[in-house]
């Protein structure tokens, strides 16, 4: 039986050192809602697990000049309770608050969701749409990575040995901006996305001036769909623009046929959810409240 060592870091520097010393056998422990499950099933066999929940900057949210920096290990429940953050990025927060259940959210973090590198991770399409920057620390210092470049395949990130994610930065929002995230699951909760779509919009006088679209669960990594954004920018979100953006989402899909959905279904749903998310984001810009998830 392999032995697992538990270590707890108090600073980012310490955590990086521990990870470096573990020589590739180290795993960061944030909420553990992926890691512990994977260890139990034998899918991951770490030599060392490095707990980062005692590093203050990794479990807090700060705001500076309108930009939010989220500690990578901050539990989703804590994010949901942050009113300012929720107001600025309702789509990112609703995505984080879809993870698992109330119990799971007491632990699960956005950083863990990202680093687990599942193409179906719920927060990631919303982070991609938000233009999130991933703040990485490692033996050679710090670097910043656009979130859409962070994962390189299912279960694979671009982190090098000794590197960890410290935080996620959401940029300052121009006025008239909002976002939304929708996922399709066969049930109403406790499920894994068949397709997930995040849309972030900036509008002026009813016209979209900026847009970003993140698309999950339809390719090996979460996609930034630039063609969908292009179709939305300059439009008033009329049917033609929405259809074009939906088609761009469907065209971007490279899904697999599996137990969770067929290629045909996923491709279609990507377009359906794009339209619905975009309209929710617009409603939010116009001050209309939305509870997002599985519109009935």
């Amino acid at each position: 039986m392999s032995e697992v060592q538990y270590q707890s870091a108090k600073t980012v520097k310490e955590a990086v050192k521990m990870m470096q010393a573990a020589k590739g056998k180290g795993y960061i422990l944030a909420g553990g809602t992926d890691l512990l499950v994977q260890m139990k099933s034998g899918a991951r066999t770490p030599g060392v697990i490095v707990d980062v929940k005692k590093i203050p900057e990794m479990v807090t949210v700060t705001e500076k000049n309108g930009a939010f920096t989220i500690g990578a290990a901050t539990p989703a429940a804590v994010l949901g309770e942050n009113k300012k953050l929720r107001k600025a990025w309702p789509g990112v927060i609703e995505a984080c608050n879809l993870i698992g259940s109330t119990q799971v959210q007491g632990r699960a973090s956005a950083g863990g969701n990202l680093c687990n590198a599942s193409p179906a991770a719920d927060s990631v399409p919303a982070l991609v749409a938000a233009g999130c920057i991933v703040n990485v620390a490692g033996p050679n210092g710090k670097r910043a990575v656009p979130v859409e470049k962070f994962c390189i395949g299912p279960g694979k990130t671009s982190l090098k040995t000794g590197e960890i994610v410290v935080s996620l930065t959401l940029p300052k929002r121009p006025k008239g901006s909002s976002d939304a995230y929708l996922r399709l699951i066969p049930r109403t909760e406790m499920d894994i996305a068949v397709v997930g779509v995040g849309v972030s919009l900036t509008m002026k006088g009813g016209t979209v001036t900026d847009a970003r679209v993140g698309l999950g669960a339809v390719a090996p990594t979460v996609l930034l769909v630039e063609n969908a954004a292009k179709a939305l920018i300059g439009s008033k979100l009329d049917d033609a623009a929405l259809d074009a953006a939906a088609d761009a989402c469907s065209a971007a899909c490279r899904p697999i046929d599996d137990k969770r959905g067929t290629i045909k279904y996923r491709t279609k749903i990507a377009g359906v959810l794009l339209k619905r998310s975009a309209l929710i984001a617009r409603d939010r810009i116009n001050g209309v409240e939305h509870r997002g998830h599985r519109p009935v």
Binding site: M190, I192, V194, D258, K259, K268, V296
Partner: protein, 768 residues
């Protein structure tokens, strides 16, 4: 309104029956004190683990256990060689039948591994970690064979054959070559051909269903301790500890009296815990090591290797006159048995048209083996599958005739005196009353919301009686212990105590119901077939009556009068009238205090083979809407009505209706076993085997229709199984009415429903 309090048939008739006290096991269960299967441990125990076949179908050429045995901490390794072979002998298990020859092969593969997850060896070691390591050291030499998963494929000539000895029983002409069709059965009434010829409308359709798991929250778990003198103690989470004893005695070749099985609290079973998996392995490992051996299944093991309910293919044809009268019906069912014969195709066939009074019926069924785990009972085994097909076809007929779906069913409803296609003539039943209750309900009278659909379906289940024993003891202070032998999965302790309190005329809280182990009470058949409150309830009532007879004898002795001159009323012995003399009534406590002087302890006993189970009928009504773009279904309102005989404890009866409805909705919408091309199960966990979660459903409303069973002192009918029969078709019918698209394949999951909606779009647009 969640339940109907108004119960005209029993209102005011009883003091305790029909009330809703807390269940005797309730506090322990909500505080965590209750001990379930995996909570039992003994000093010095070993951990047992099972090595399972990674192949769907393979010859086991050899098994080398030497390396595993050599590992430090490993105390024993067993394979099929450690069990004697068994004869070709059919024994009942719950509502299904199994063959001993097959059971021994199912608990441990012998010549071949027949499904992925089939046990091939087991180890006992000092820890789980060592046991796991040992499994990896066992070398099994397999010759992988072509496999077959699908029933239709398995029936085709040229399909891979699972058992060379299997000749189709009931084939005409008699089978001469082995096949995967274990059995062909047939039920006939009247002349179906002539009936169809006379029909003005004929509807015919083919349906399919997938295997589904019972989904009990508690995985199988057991602890066995074999002593040097040959006695074996077992703790097991089971629906039938007497069955565990009986099966294991045969499998191990020991006397039943050598085995003492104690049932633990049970975290759900639904029929799936009426068979043995781990128990004989743990017992053999304990015999070999002289130590207690504990074994538990992981969830994946539960999915891969414990009995799911079968999937099946059903062809239904119904012929009717324009006024709605059904004149002929036909149903052909092909059903998965899993790796060994014995699917519930019999009950599926028998239940198919049992709700209706039809003159000409033809029913045919096929029991088909394939490389899947052996199926086990699941609430009303088989019936939901044929009901899905029949009740969907009934709905199509109602639409074709432009008739209200309840009126169509009322027109054809079975009544007292109706002869079923399987030969039984119904006594007093409540099909008509139950249909009428739904028709009169606020739900059914309310308008259907625009864009929504309302579906109705009915269902039937026989319910059973069988063997029960019970005892009642009066304590020194006059409080009462009622002892029976059926694990309590649905609140049966509360119902038994209520009947005892009613019979005895004492407070419910003075009666303590106990579930005894196999050595402490006479034989009881499994908790299954919705039999416990009915049959064991009758045994309890009779044991109390036996005790009352003795109490009267004791009072007579004290009063020095004839026992015949004593009556029992409101918990007291009283003289039968003035002519026998004037005596102060004697309470239970009075009599108990003097028991020593009047003849010793006061107990009552009963043992019976109970017949006269009253069949039950259910009618469900559901309102739902379908997301046209995604195929996601939202269930908005759901009402389950059922003929429940007498609701002894109405809350637990409602719980049965609600639970069955929820499981049926899961079966309808998302649940299915998904196999890959290698015959391996792709979704052995609750993430991808999608049972409903709480947020998927509204509160299930219930209507208890009380049509007492004349063959039970309190009118009890079984209630636990009927409620899973109607929901699948109710959901399908509502979808059809909401969208105009008739689904015939289960589950009606978002991808499948969305594809059907897309395929029908041109037709639907043209219709608009």
């Amino acid at each position: 309104m969640s339940h109907q309090e108004h119960r005209p048939n029993t209102e005011g008739k009883y003091k305790w029956i029909g009330t809703r006290p807390d269940r005797p096991d309730g506090a322990d269960k909500v505080t965590g004190r209750a001990r379930f299967g995996a909570d039992f441990n003994l000093p010095g125990q070993l951990i047992g683990k099972v090595l399972r076949s990674p192949h769907a179908h393979a010859v086991i050429k050899s098994i080398d256990t030497s390396k595993a045995l050599a590992l430090s901490g490993v105390k024993a390794v067993i394979t099929a060689k450690d069990f004697p072979d068994q004869p070709n002998l059919i024994v009942p298990t719950g509502e299904m039948q199994v063959n001993m020859r097959d059971i021994t092969r199912n608990i441990m593969a012998r010549e071949k591994a027949l499904y992925e997850g089939h046990p091939v060896a087991a180890v006992a070691a000092v820890s789980e970690a060592v046991a796991k390591q040992a499994l990896a050291l066992i070398k099994v030499d397999y010759k992988v064979l072509p496999h077959v998963i699908d029933v239709a494929e398995a029936m085709k000539p040229g399909a891979p054959i699972l058992h060379d000895h299997l000749l189709t029983e009931g084939a005409s002409p008699p089978a001469t070559k082995p096949s995967n069709i274990a059995k062909r059965i047939e039920f006939k009434k009247g002349d179906a051909k002539a009936g169809f010829a006379q029909a003005e409308v004929v509807i015919e359709k083919d349906y399919t269903t997938q295997a589904v798991h019972q989904g009990y929250i508690e995985p199988h778990a057991t602890l066995a301790s074999a002593a040097e003198d040959g006695q074996i103690q077992v703790w097991s989470t089971t629906q039938g500890h007497f069955q565990v004893r009986g099966f294991c005695a045969r499998l191990l070749g020991v006397d039943t009296s050598q085995i003492r099985v104690t049932p633990t609290e049970i975290g759900g079973g639904f029929g799936g815990k009426t068979v043995v998996y781990l128990e004989p392995l743990a017992m053999r490992l304990s015999q070999k090591t002289g130590k207690p051996v504990k074994m538990t299944m992981a969830r994946e093991d539960v999915f891969r290797a414990s009995g799911p309910a079968p999937g099946g293919n059903v062809k239904v044809k119904i012929g009717a006159m324009k006024d709605g009268r059904i004149v002929a019906a036909e149903c052909i069912v092909e059903m998965q048995a899993g790796a060994f014969p014995g699917s519930p195709v019999g009950p599926a066939c028998m239940c198919s048209f049992a709700c209706y009074d039809i003159e000409n019926v033809y029913i045919e069924g096929f029991d088909v083996v394939s490389n899947r785990p052996k199926v086990a009972a699941y609430r009303a085994p088989g019936a939901p599958i044929s009901a899905w097909a029949v009740e969907s076809t009934m709905d199509i007929l109602a639409q074709r005739l432009d008739m209200d779906p309840i009126d169509l069913r009322l027109k054809n409803a079975a009544k007292a005196g109706t002869k079923t296609a399987y030969g039984v003539t119904f006594n007093t039943i409540g099909m008509v009353e139950t249909l009428q209750a739904v028709k009169d309900s606020e739900h059914y009278k309310s308008p259907v919301k625009p864009g929504w659909g309302r579906g109705v379906a009915a269902g039937f289940w026989f319910n059973i009686g069988a063997d029960s024993s019970a005892a009642s003891h009066v304590g020194e202070d006059g409080s009462v212990t009622v002892i029976s032998g059926n694990p309590d999965i649905g609140g049966s302790r509360a119902s038994l105590a209520l009947m005892a309190a009613e019979e005895l005329g004492v407070d419910y809280n003075k009666v303590r119901p106990i579930i005894a182990d196999t050595a402490s009470i006479g034989f009881n058949f499994v908790t299954g077939g919705s039999r416990v409150t009915f049959a064991t309830g009758l045994a309890v009532v009779n044991s109390v009556r036996d005790m009352i007879r003795e109490l009267k004898v004791r009072a007579a002795k004290i009063w020095k009068i004839d026992p015949e001159a004593v009556i029992w009323e409101n918990g007291m012995a009283k003289p039968a009238g003035n002519q026998v003399g004037t005596f102060e009534p004697l309470s239970l406590a009075d009599l108990a205090a003097q028991a020593g002087r009047t003849g010793g302890p006061i107990n009552g006993h009963a043992q019976l083979n109970v017949t006269g189970a009253g069949p039950g009928f259910g009618v469900h009504c559901v309102d739902l809407k379908v997301d046209d773009d995604t195929g996601c279904v939202t269930v908005g309102r759901y009402t389950a009505a059922q003929d429940v005989g007498t609701a002894i404890h109405p809350s637990y009866v409602e719980g049965q209706l609600q639970g069955g409805a929820v499981q049926g909705v899961g079966w309808a919408l998302n649940e299915e076993y998904i196999y890959n091309a290698q015959g391996k199960l792709e979704n052995p966990g609750f993430l991808d085997y999608r049972m409903p979660v709480a947020s998927d459903l509204p509160k299930i409303e219930t209507i208890l229709v009380e049509v007492p069973n004349p063959q039970h002192p309190y009118g009890v009918r079984g209630v636990g199984e009927v409620p899973i029969v109607p929901p699948i078709a109710a959901v399908g019918n509502a979808i059809a009415r909401a969208t105009g698209v008739r689904m015939v394949d289960l589950p009606m999951s978002p991808p499948r429903l969305s594809a059907a909606l897309d395929a029908a779009r041109p037709r639907r647009m043209a219709a608009e």
